[in-house]
């Protein structure tokens, strides 16, 4: 966080105008809406690139609430979330962090990849997940109650190390969990078509390659290709990169550096073209 942020556009007032394209996998839309109405925090589980962020954008539009997203990383401090004092013209000014702004404005707050954040950072969300729904700000000596419209959503990828083991059971149990997986083939092909603009046959082949790499999860790959990677490959193809090399760059190289694995994936890609 640096000073420039405080002058930036007020994100807590920004609303998504056009309906984001989101292809539901099941009843997640209804469940999220119910959780929101009941003021329950939500946990999105699932591998990276399977539509969690897109889902949040869609819900933000659908509920007509602004959304603040924070991508967590291991340098993220509690102050980065809650806020800090800054010096302005010789005076100190308190500047709210994204979480505080979201609470005050009653918007949706999405902490992406919460696993990545340091443990002492995640502690600040605990009282918010409580049914008192409060955000204490120590430096201000203030406690901000969350309005009913505020909602906290966190995401994590259970394929990697699990925070939930580290997160207290009492915290964990306050989350309503939604599981995101890769969409079924037909649906995923539709997403790829819509998002990248390739035609059905091209999208089908991309999904086929996606499935092949997913078969290799725990057999040499940590993770198979996400929908995002398939979309990326599709976009490359739309700008006239040949299909096989688009797949190689956007999918294979993104998944692994292991030369044998790359050779194997290269053959798998070649097999469908």
């Amino acid at each position: 966080m640096n000073a420039a942020v405080s002058d930036a556009l007020k994100i807590e007032e920004y609303r998504i105008q056009d309906e984001p394209y989101y292809e539901p996998l099941g009843d997640e839309v209804a469940v999220f809406e119910a959780a929101w109405r009941n003021q329950l925090p939500v946990l999105l589980k699932g591998p990276t690139g399977c539509g969690k962020t897109r889902f949040m954008e869609y819900m933000s539009w659908r509920l007509d609430r602004p959304m603040i997203t924070v991508s967590c990383h291991d340098d993220l401090t509690a102050s980065d979330l809650v806020g800090r004092y800054l010096v302005k013209g010789g005076e100190t000014v308190w500047v709210d962090g994204p979480l505080t702004r979201a609470v005050r404005a009653g918007s949706l707050c999405y902490l992406d990849e919460i696993v990545e954040a340091r443990k002492d950072t995640t502690v600040v969300i605990h009282p918010l997940c409580d049914d008192r729904r409060l955000l204490p700000i120590d430096k201000l000596g203030e406690v901000v109650p969350a309005p009913p419209e505020f909602s906290l959503t966190v995401s994590y990828n259970p394929g990697y190390q699990s925070v939930l083991k580290d997160m207290k059971q009492s915290t964990r149990q306050r989350f309503v969990a939604l599981e995101f997986g890769y969409p079924p083939a037909e649906l995923e092909a539709r997403v790829v078509m819509k998002e990248s603009g390739v035609d059905q046959a091209v999208a089908d082949r991309l999904v086929q390659i996606g499935h092949m790499t997913r078969n290799l999860k725990d057999n040499g790959l940590d993770e198979g290709a996400s929908t995002r990677l398939l979309v990326n490959a599709g976009k490359l193809m739309r700008t006239s990169v040949p299909e096989a090399s688009a797949c190689h760059s956007a999918i294979a190289e993104a998944l692994t550096d292991d030369p044998d694995m790359l050779a194997a994936i290269r053959e798998l890609i070649a097999s469908v073209y």
Binding site: T92, E179, N215, N219, G220, D260, A264, A270, S271, V272
Partner: protein, 742 residues
Amino acid sequence: MDPDSRWILKEMVNQTTERRLLFADSGGWQTQNRAQWQRVQALLLRHADGSAVLESIRSLDEAQQRFVVHWIDVVARSDSELARVFASRAARALTLMDSIGVEHWLIQAMDAYDKRGLGRGVAVLEELDSFAADYAERHRQVRLDQQLAVLQPIVIGLGGRSLTVTTDESASNGAYTDSESIFLPATQRHFTDQALNRQLLLAQAVFLWAQNYYGTWQQSPLEQLAVLPRPQESQAIYAMLERFRVEARLARDLPGLHRYLQELQQQGGETPLSPAWQQARARLDRDDALADDSIALVETLRGEALPEAAPYQGTIHPERVRQVLEKRLVRERQQLQKSLSELEQTVLGRPQGQPQADDKKNNPGQAPGDRFSVSETPARAEAGRQQPQLEYRGRKVGTPAQVQGLLTSIQQDLGEVPEDYLAGGGNDTPYDADAEEARDREYTSGEPLHYAEGALSYPEWDYNRQRYRQDYCILREQPLKPGDPAFIHETLQKYRGPLKSIRRSFEAVLGEDRLLRRQPDGDDIDIDALIEAQADRVRGEEMDDRVYSRHRRVDRDIAVMLMVDMSGSTRGWVNDAERESLVLLCEALETLGDRYAIYGFSGRTHTRCAIYPIKRFDENYSQTVRERISGIKPQTYTRMGVAIRHLGGLLGQVPARTKLLVTLSDGKPEDYGSYRGRYGIEDTRRALIEARRSGIHAFCITIDQAGGDYLPHMYGPANYAVIDQVSQLPLKVADIYRRLTT
């Protein structure tokens, strides 16, 4: 030739390569290398045939000239006669082999010269033709073990039942599959060209995958095939028909693969099909053709000449498939039923044998079979996505990977997942008493089993049964007798030099790219912190002095468990190497202050597995610990799986972000009796998978060259390393750290 000069020679080979590139397009190289060129000329002209030899060298292209002259010059430093003999044959050698081959030939000659004198050296050079023939032969064939790291993931990536790519004796007479493994020849030398042979191995693997995937070995055609008259002829016809059918499917699903197969086939030149065969092939080209259709066509083709086999087609062994299939059908049915009832209890939250209240009301006595179903899969599932979808009360449910694998496999055998397979568990028929188990008992007969207190029990994976033997391994932690403390001192003295660079490389590797913020001092000012501190000051509060940033290692938050093989096979230099390298590693880890623990493991049979604590996580690197390291002695056998489970469990309890399990071993995971070979390897692999699932990174460092081929299978291709020098261990660990933390 001693290792040092061999190394120097290899270096020279490398340098020559470089030099060749360096001078590749600068003309007049003789002028540039005038001294060398003159030396060589003078040397050759001292001999009667000198000018003829020089002429033959001048007739080579420029790169070759440089290559030859360089080597004549090098060899002449050892012996001018040897150099002359080489010179007189160099031009011819280059017509027989590439320059790498020529270098091998020359190195062999110099080797012989070093060891046994000029006569032998010259003799090797004179055997140029046989060497070249040999070289061509060796460079034509492709070894399966060198291709496995690529072939195995391809076969798994293509989908369906996970098939193991391997080899056996009969595979040299034709690649085949038994429906669980794909057996390929250990070396492929069908074509004279190496690249083609590599291509052929791949083609064989994917073709046999396709047989399995597209139903050649489904139960129904297999049974029908068994009762056809004149079995040999029937099988040959069936194999060919199925090839045509499978290829037609490939052409639609995986056109790239199909083209690849065709290219190889055209290497052999195609002969046209007889009309009867053409007709049959057209029938099997259809979208909905099944293996049953091939069976039906067999009769129409008796007496017809069989079309020529494709090079990748291999052979078939229906009898072997049948044996494997029968066992699998029973096994997978039981496994599926068990898994489904577990799924119902745990995931779907219904206690066993206790129907939910609403269930009782609505569907009294409903069997699990009525609750689970498999959604209809497309009749023609595309490769890579043939996945039966499990439903529970008409709703799709998240299916654990293991259940998904079972459903896929069952569907591959039967063409569908029959309803009675989905009818719930309860059917816990025990497996046949196992011969291996009996043998194990023999080994321990007469001695009471050690189930006494303090002992822990662990499961073991039995790959034959594809399930765990519960509570099968009995393990206890045993104290290690301290060894001679002088050993530590001696080791530290002996490796004083390397130790310095080890420490340095640890610090360097670990300090990389990490920015520590809010430090009391450092190389840079942390602007964020400074602003905050300034803000505090302006408000009259105490100013925080932690306003610097520093490039240093941060809370890497790593815990390392070192698991040391103390089995009998480490006796001798391996044991010394283990102890010495542990001392060095501890020294290195101490400078970092990371959490680490060291345990030894060994044990005799599954009832007495032993773990020897050397340094627990909460222990300091004390004198006692040092003496324990020195006291590491080869014990009995290796049972690696249980050790991984136990130590993985201990590591799992340590609250660290990154958890690392490093096995230090001679790379032979076998115990007494049944834990030998594949069984032990598969259990170890399984234990590692379990560890990985609980967030542990597993690596293996072996002090043995032979370990190579199955280590990647157990640890994954990137997670093992072979060392042959004591001081390499800490460097490898530093490497692993780097991979995990950056």
